[in-house]
């Protein structure tokens, strides 16, 4: 009796395995939690420390400066003001001061930064009108006294004019492109905005080309970008809120959302995270992306960046939030789900059947881009029984001269393709295609002939490389490339079993991931049948009459009735 029971006890090895199975995940879980909290603590420490610091700085530093400079407020005398400004301007060689007379009576000075101001505006609208004091040429209207009101109402034909009492503010604003006007007898400094800067024409985005759809892309100028959004359609409820990011070098960041669609909790969360950004300089929207994302350890991007206004508008209409940063054409969209990264605006412009097929194709290519080399390795090194017999014969014959195991072989080719791709970005345009041919064709062919790799692998690598370019988002392509290498190692350890394990690992990671509170793989998990209309398939527009449920929008219906 006792023996029967003892027989059913597992051996020590099984117990050990069970214990490992229990302990390892817990260890990993704690490790990651520890890393996460470490990151967050570091962030929040700075955050809270700085929040106090900064708010103090914002309030305190100015009086401090004022005390030093002894002239933060605009002073009564024109000369004092000018002297103060001149003293400040000597530090900046590109600040120019143009002194002149308004209507031959009052002295005045224009301050501007070389290259940033709108030359035609200053020459024709400001200088001309001021010197003539609004009257016809040759007949200076002497009756008008030079006051602020008269300047604004009668003399200056400029739309964007503001005034300030703060002299230090003047300097700061000049540096962003406004022109400051200092007039004798006027207590304020007038700021004439008309910064031209040098902006690029609106072009089709290079990184997101489409066959059908608007050929516009964002530019580096924030005002133009917001204008592009506005131009997409009249909509009063499109709200844009301006924030300043960067503690030392300040930049404008606009949070755009449709007020009566976007979930207000989501907007609050976005604003909260943006306000928590504490960095001396935010160079590009990529900085913002990394500073506000949920999980810094994940390979998957939790914020989408795009150059296309139509994509942004589409996202806004689904209840998402867009972040526009000055100085970059890349606009961020949050929250993001995995399926969004594989969707293209074209899906909605084409009719639904071709669009659906293209989507299916893109999901398939994403799979190919990650798993083809891994499957090749597992077939060659482990699971030969799964290859059709005739193919086995050819593969064996073609691999007869290859001295390396398949993982090394695949790594050689994959790494050289990655090098080619990386080099291709930097190659000068005239040489680019030629080098591509040399790299891709000649190296591939020569490697086969030299017996380093088998011809099958060339097909595999080519298919993988092409598939990773079929994905609409460049950053997603990079993610999938990294995953591909991990999958290859897993395949090299355990064959197809390892590949499947890796797939499960990725799935479980993605299923846990959240982007601004929205599960990354929704509508797959949590399963929302209604959202499947716009997931792998794109149903006809007539059927898609609700906004994504996962966005928890204020107005879920896309229809009036």
């Amino acid at each position: 009796m006792w023996k029967v029971i003892v027989d059913h006890f597992p051996g020590w090895d099984v117990v050990l395995q069970a214990v490992m199975l229990l302990i390892l995940p817990i260890i990993f879980n704690y490790l990651f939690q520890w890393a996460h909290t470490n990151l967050r603590r570091r962030n929040s420490l700075k955050d809270s420390g700085n929040a106090g610091d900064k708010s103090n700085a914002a309030e305190n530093s100015s009086p401090h400066e004022q005390g030093q400079a002894d002239g933060q407020q605009v002073m009564e005398r024109y000369e004092d003001n000018l002297a103060w400004l001149k003293e400040r301007a000597t530090k900046h060689c590109d600040i120019h001061i143009r002194e002149f007379m308004v209507g031959g009576e009052n002295r005045a000075a224009l301050l501007y930064v070389d290259g940033l101001y709108d030359k035609t505006l200053v020459d024709t609208q400001v200088l001309e009108s001021l010197m003539n004091k609004g009257g016809e040429e040759g007949h200076p209207d002497d009756d008008i006294p030079v006051t602020k009101e008269n300047l604004l109402n009668l003399i200056l034909p400029i739309s964007q004019v503001s005034d300030t009492h703060q002299l230090h503010q003047v300097v700061e604003d000049i540096l962003t492109g406004t022109v400051a006007l200092l007039v004798e007898g006027v207590e304020e400094v007038l700021m004439l905005s008309g910064s031209a800067g040098n902006s690029r024409a609106i072009e089709e985005p290079v990184s997101e080309g489409l066959l059908r759809g608007p050929r516009t892309g964002f530019t580096e100028t924030l005002s133009e970008n917001t204008a592009l959004l506005r131009r997409h359609g009249r909509n009063e409820s499109l709200r844009m809120t301006k924030f300043k990011v960067g503690s030392r070098v300040k930049k404008d960041l606009i949070v755009a959302y449709v007020e009566d669609i976007a979930n207000s909790e989501l907007v609050d969360e976005v604003i909260h995270r943006i306000e928590a950004i504490d960095l001396d300089y935010v160079a590009e929207s990529g900085y913002v992306e990394q500073l506000i994302e949920d999980n810094s350890f994940s390979l998957f991007q939790q914020v989408q960046s795009t150059e296309r206004p139509d994509r942004v508008i589409g996202a806004l209409m689904e209840g998402r939030v867009a972040l526009l940063l000055d100085g970059t054409p890349f606009v961020l969209i949050v929250p993001v789900t995995f399926s969004m990264l594989l969707q293209s605006p074209e899906d909605y412009y084409e009719r639904w059947i071709p669009a659906t097929l293209l989507r299916l194709l893109r999901f398939f290519t994403a799979f190919l881009a990650v798993f083809t080399p891994a499957i090749y390795i597992s077939f060659i090194s482990y699971n030969q029984g799964l290859i059709p017999t005739e193919l086995v014969v050819t593969i064996i014959e073609s691999r007869q001269s290859v001295p390396f195991p398949s993982i090394i072989e695949a790594l050689i080719m994959e790494i050289s393709i990655e090098i080619l791709r990386e080099a291709g970005i930097r190659l000068p345009k005239p040489i680019g295609p030629a080098m591509g041919i040399v790299g891709g064709l000649i190296i591939g062919d020569a490697a086969v002939n030299a017996g380093i790799i088998s011809p099958f692998l060339v097909i595999v690598v080519a298919v993988t490389a092409i598939s990773s370019f079929a994905i609409p988002s460049y950053s997603t392509g990079i993610t999938l490339r990294i995953l591909r290498f991990l999958a290859m190692f897993c395949a090299a350890f355990l064959g197809l079993y390892g590949t499947v394990l890796f797939f499960i690992l990725v799935c479980s990671h993605v299923a846990r991931l959240k982007s601004f509170g929205v599960p990354y793989v929704s509508p797959m998990s949590p399963f929302r049948w209604n959202d499947w209309k716009d997931f792998i398939v794109r149903m006809p527009l007539k059927v898609m009459n609700r906004r994504p449920i996962m966005m928890k929008t204020k107005d879920s219906s896309r229809r009036d009735k």
Partner: protein, 397 residues
């Protein structure tokens, strides 16, 4: 810098863990040879084996079976030791004699540098002579249990030696794959039985019923299908064989005709041929007291594809009716012949009558199950054919 150190330590140990793991079970494809076919013969040492035994490679064994392993791709290294002149570039056959199939397969590791891989075994050929001597379940025990060999592997019989079937004179052909292709031609010719793979065979052998296996005949140059072998369920040994003609009749009874030919002669002694378009067989069983009787109803539609009697117009309705009768008689004769052979000569049921009986009379079946073959021998079988010539093809004349 304490946490920094800890982090690097963790990262390093993770890396170390990765490098400590090996590549479990990693076997590159080119470092293996693929077993595609297996032949089983009555023990007879091949010349290489004789030579090896003479020079001292001996292990204790009873010599019961000679296995022929067909492996691809053919290794250049083996050229000198091959005496088989008929082998082409693609494959090679190696023989090993012994008593345990598994031991013989593993013995190959002693003779060849690259291990054999069993996933791609497509066909197992057993010689009639061996099947007469040794029970088929003993021969197939290993292949049925082995994890590598797929259950889709087909089992065939050969009239002569199995090793003779597994050769081909055409270079670029792999005989095992050719055999599989041959057996799959069932749709074009109804003297090929539906192929029996290991899964089906496992069930049949365990149920203890008798069955047929496709037979092959080999000439110097060619391998062709040649009737079927009958294996009696009780003894699991071969009891006899059916000719091609009888196999054809059997497939009409089993309802497995998917096309093919029915030929007879008309009153004038001229050839007439019927092309089968569709065929359906219904077997009804009746129990009256102790007496079991079967009624085989064959219904077929086809076309008159050839009539050598040029005077008769095929448009003539009367002629067509006449010919239909001739075909019916021919078919009934064929079927009665084969039934007689099963019942009276070999005392086995290989026509699937048992299955129909089991479904139609489950209670009675339970009583007779143990000795169905003899119960079938005592039964009556009647054949009815309903043959319709639908058209005469594209040409009216």
């Amino acid at each position: 810098m304490y946490p920094m150190k800890r982090q690097t330590l963790i990262a390093l140990s993770l890396l170390l863990m990765l490098s400590l793991t090996g590549c479990w079970g990693n076997k590159e494809i080119e470092e293996q040879t693929i077993l595609v076919g297996l032949g089983m013969d009555v023990a007879q040492r091949s010349s290489e084996e004789e030579q090896l035994a003479e020079s001292g490679s001996i292990y204790p064994r009873k010599e019961l079976v000679t296995l022929t392993f067909q492996i691809i791709p053919f290794q250049k290294r083996q050229v000198s030791s091959k005496s088989d002149k008929s082998s082409s570039d693609l494959y090679s056959n190696i023989q090993e004699t012994g008593d345990s199939i598994f031991q013989m397969i593993r013995q190959m590791a002693n003779r060849r540098s690259k291990p054999m891989m069993g996933h791609h075994v497509k066909v197992i050929v057993i010689s009639e002579e061996l099947a007469r001597k040794i029970e088929i379940d003993k021969l197939l025990k290993f292949v049925l249990r082995d994890n590598a060999i797929r259950p889709s592997c087909i089992v065939l019989m050969s009239k002569g030696k199995a090793s003779q079937v597994l050769v081909s004179n055409n270079s670029g052909e792999i005989p095992s794959l050719e055999l599989v292709g041959l057996v799959e031609n069932q749709g074009k010719s109804n003297n090929i039985l539906p192929s029996k793979n290991l899964t089906k065979l496992d069930g049949i052998i365990n149920s203890g019923s008798s069955f047929t296996l496709q037979n092959l005949a080999s000439s110097v140059d060619e391998v062709a299908v040649a009737g079927a072998s009958i294996i009696k369920g009780k003894t699991r040994k071969l009891v006899g064989s059916l000719s091609e003609w009888e196999v054809q009749a059997l497939s009409w009874i089993q309802g497995s005709v998917k096309g093919g030919v029915l030929k007879t002669i008309d009153q004038g002694g001229q050839t007439i041929t019927y092309e089968v378009i569709s065929e359906k067989t219904k077997i009804k069983s009746k129990v009256e007291g102790d007496k079991i009787s079967f009624e085989v109803n064959v219904k077929t539609i086809g076309r008159l594809i050839e009539n050598w009697d040029t005077r008769e117009s095929s448009e003539n309705e009367e002629y067509i009716r006449e010919v239909e009768k001739l075909f019916v008689r021919q078919l009934e004769d064929m079927m009665n012949d084969v039934i007689r052979k099963m019942r009276d000569t070999y005392h086995v049921d290989v026509g699937g009558f048992g299955d129909h009986f089991r479904i139609q009379h489950p209670k009675m079946w339970r009583k007779l199950e143990k000795d169905w073959d003899s119960a079938f021998t005592r039964s009556e079988v009647k054949c009815n054919v309903n043959l319709i010539i639908e058209d005469t093809g594209s040409s009216a004349k």
